[in-house]
């Protein structure tokens, strides 16, 4: 990877930030805005490196310990005697903060012990000894600084000198806690129906399971001759924790490239129909369609139904025309999840189409993803920021793949419901409940994948 020296070197060719307004099969073809920004490589990968923690999900607190603080007037000797009288086998005082750590009596759970202690008027607080975990961040170079979509800790999204938006902490899809529950099964395949995928990209080479199929040129090589499909595939399931590039949503799931759009970003419904059926027959669990057209077509709907009936979750971008209707196939409400876009503040993106078919939203503004090296240009890193519902949809596809990995018995309709019902209603102050702009809300992977505690 080429690492340039200084940020101020504006004479050096910069990396493109592409702001999508559309990728479609409409007469207008692909519509996109481009913007020059500084190189990503000016943020040294070395400075972002983090060690990979190993701790994974376990119970939330120690099964045999609780922490107790007595009221200020209680003398230490009395407190210790009282704790011994409960039969705790070990009583340890942390004198600096006046807290006792005790081992629970045999045969009593933490819940029972806490209930018993909280009835004692001399005790101010009794709490479980909660488990902490090392900050579970993948070591991908750009994860910490740029992938607000997966974990947003606030601050500035420092894309370039003139693009430095202030982000809202927590405006993300809660990927990191969700990864504690599921990293994905390599057997769960996400078919990316798009402009193809660059199989040689270092962040995708290990994830693409086959050359795929090219319905635009009718051959068995779905290599990306645009850039869009590579970007979308990377957002959904880039090679993660490989010490370079970005993290994908479905970290361990794999990608099946299906080329249904040509180099110009145009595709026909017949190609999409073929692609849907082919990907389904190849065993894809999820199909991502970051594209769409304006025209309702029963044959396209039938192809979506074909996939749905065979257990495939079909996810599609809602479209990039603010005030416009949801495009097809996203508008096939019964069989397809329609995804709108939000930004780094959890606000609906100003380009996102709306309508009653919108199911959920996901981050779709300044999303960093891989692109073919030839597209980025010699000497530039093969990554770029892009915006659009095209970028929002693969977040949902990745989430669907993780759910499928964790619960393979679930049918597509149930996975679609889980994704809808676990979303955060981030525009509740304006539009409470489901609405036509972001559907049920911005997806929340943690709520869908991490167990709900009944207490």
């Amino acid at each position: 990877m080429n690492v340039p020296a200084r940020r101020s070197a504006k004479a050096i060719p910069a990396l493109l930030v592409l702001l999508f307004v559309g990728l479609g099969t409409t007469d207008a073809g692909w519509i996109r805005r481009t913007k020059l920004v500084d190189r990503l490589s000016q943020r040294s990968a070395r400075t972002l490196r983090v060690e990979r923690p190993t701790l994974r999900r376990g119970s939330r607190y120690a099964a045999d310990r609780v922490l107790i603080r007595f009221k200020p007037y209680v003398a230490d000797a009395y407190a210790q005697g009282l704790l011994r009288s409960y039969g705790f086998s070990s009583v340890r005082l942390i004198p600096q903060i006046g807290v006792y750590c005790v081992r629970t009596s045999h045969g009593f759970s933490v819940t029972e012990t806490l209930a018993m202690l909280r009835r004692n008027g001399d005790i101010e607080q009794a709490r479980p000894d909660y488990r902490a975990r090392l900050t579970d961040t993948p070591n991908d170079t750009f994860f910490v600084s740029y992938q607000y979509n997966l974990r947003n800790r606030g601050g500035i999204l420092d894309i370039s000198d003139d693009i430095r938006p202030q982000m809202t902490s927590g405006a993300d899809i809660k990927a990191t806690p969700a990864w504690d529950a599921a990293l994905g099964d390599p057997g769960v395949v996400i078919a990316v129906l798009d402009s193809g995928v660059d199989r040689t990209h270092p962040d995708l080479a290990a994830k693409v399971i086959s050359p795929g199929h090219d319905f635009a040129n009718d051959d068995d090589d779905a290599t990306d001759d645009n850039w869009h499909g590579t970007h979308v595939a990377g957002v959904a399931a880039a090679d993660t924790n490989n010490a370079q590039g970005i993290a994908g949503v479905a970290r361990n799931c794999t990608i099946l490239p299906v080329k249904v759009a040509g180099a110009d970003g145009m595709g026909f419904y017949s190609w999409i129909i073929d692609g849907l059926i082919w990907a389904t027959d190849q065993g894809a669990a999820v199909i991502n369609l970051s594209m769409g057209g304006d025209f309702d077509d029963p044959f396209l709907e039938d192809a979506c139904k074909y996939a749905f009936d065979r257990g495939v979750v079909v996810v599609a971008s809602a479209g990039n025309e603010f005030g416009g209707s949801v495009v097809y196939p996203a508008a096939y409400d019964s069989y397809v999840l329609a995804v709108a876009a939000t930004d780094y503040d959890d606000l609906p993106a100003d380009f996102s189409s709306s309508g009653p078919q919108v199911d959920v939203a996901a981050p779709g503004v300044y999303i960093l993803g891989p692109v073919p090296q030839w597209y980025a240009g010699e000497g530039n890193l093969p990554y770029l920021f892009a915006s659009g519902t095209s970028q929002a949809a693969p977040h949902v596809s990745g989430m669907a793949a993780l759910i499928k990995s964790l619960k393979p018995e679930l049918r597509p309709a149930d996975i679609m419901r889980i994704i809808r019902y676990t979303a955060d209603d981030v525009n509740a102050s304006v539009d409470c409940g489901r609405d036509d702009h972001i559907g049920y809300g911005r997806i929340n992977m943690e709520r869908a994948l991490v167990p709900y505690i009944l207490n």
């Binding site: 099964a63 619960k407 018995e409 889980i418 809808r420 019902y421 489901r434 709520r447 167990p451 709900y452």
Partner: protein, 258 residues
């Protein structure tokens, strides 16, 4: 039913049959010679491994029941009980529901019915050996929890049913009229099913955890204390070891002889 649990059932059935055979048939004489009634409190824990699962959970059950002991003479006693139970499992996750639920709640209520048969097998000097068989079944009441934080209304509904059968010999030492200590060894079998239903608008899931129980043996020390002419206190405490731990049981009751 698995081969192993079938074997356990046979063992327990044999114990209960022995209790019947050891004494003259009560129906033939059809005379109730003694009638004792009282209140009993039982608490026990039992570690179970769920069918198709490798993780274990510990059932903790507390029972308060009204009990009647019918004495038919020659050492044969039939006890019938009815009451309430509070039971819960620790460390239990319902992972096949659409949204995985981790049970960390208080105990669930249930109605409990039980029967126990005790028969004298042999008496020598101050010792007597009895055979005892016991069956207890708890019919759980449903409990509902709201599922909060979702985009739609939701709830989880759980119900726990369990039954336990046990049988074994009891060696009693007839120390005095006032106090009779005993040692009891039991083969125990527990069947439990914990049904959890999840609803989030039109998203439904149902998971039932089942356990046919493994054979376990318990050893208990107990004593019957005659507090007065008509009042007796019965107490028992024991343990049931299993690989990697020990389950416990205690029982105490206050009875009045009519």
């Amino acid at each position: 039913m698995t081969k192993r649990s079938t074997g356990v059932w046979r063992l327990i059935s044999l114990g209960i049959a022995l209790a019947f055979l050891a004494a003259p048939a009560p129906a033939a004489e059809s005379k109730i010679e003694t009638f004792v009634a009282g209140l009993n409190f039982d608490h026990f824990s039992k570690t179970v491994v769920w069918d198709g699962d490798t993780a274990s959970s510990r059932l903790r059950a507390s029972l308060v029941s009204a009990r009647a002991d019918l004495g038919f003479g020659k050492g044969l006693t039939l006890s019938l009980s009815a009451g309430f139970s509070l039971a819960g499992f620790g460390g239990l996750a319902f992972e096949t529901l659409p949204i995985t639920l981790e049970y960390d709640a208080s105990s669930l209520k249930g109605l409990v019915l039980g029967a126990e048969l005790e028969a004298l097998l042999h008496k020598f000097g101050k010792f007597e050996i009895k055979a005892a068989g016991r069956f207890v079944s708890s019919f759980g009441m449903s409990k509902t929890w709201p599922l909060e934080g979702f985009a739609v209304e939701g709830q989880a509904k759980g119900r726990l049913n369990w039954m336990e059968a046990s049988a074994g010999p009891r060696l009693a030492y007839l120390l005095s009229d006032k106090f009779v200590p005993y040692l009891e060894v039991n083969a125990r079998w527990l069947r439990a099913d914990f049904r959890m239903e999840e609803t989030l608008e039109d998203l439904h899931g149902l998971e039932t955890k089942r356990s046919n129980g493994d054979l376990s043996f318990s050893v208990a020390l107990g004593g019957d204390v005659r507090a007065s002419e008509r009042v007796t206190i019965k107490a028992k405490a024991g343990f049931a070891p299993y690989p990697g731990g020990t389950d416990a049981l205690i029982s105490i009751g206050l009875f009045y002889m009519f």
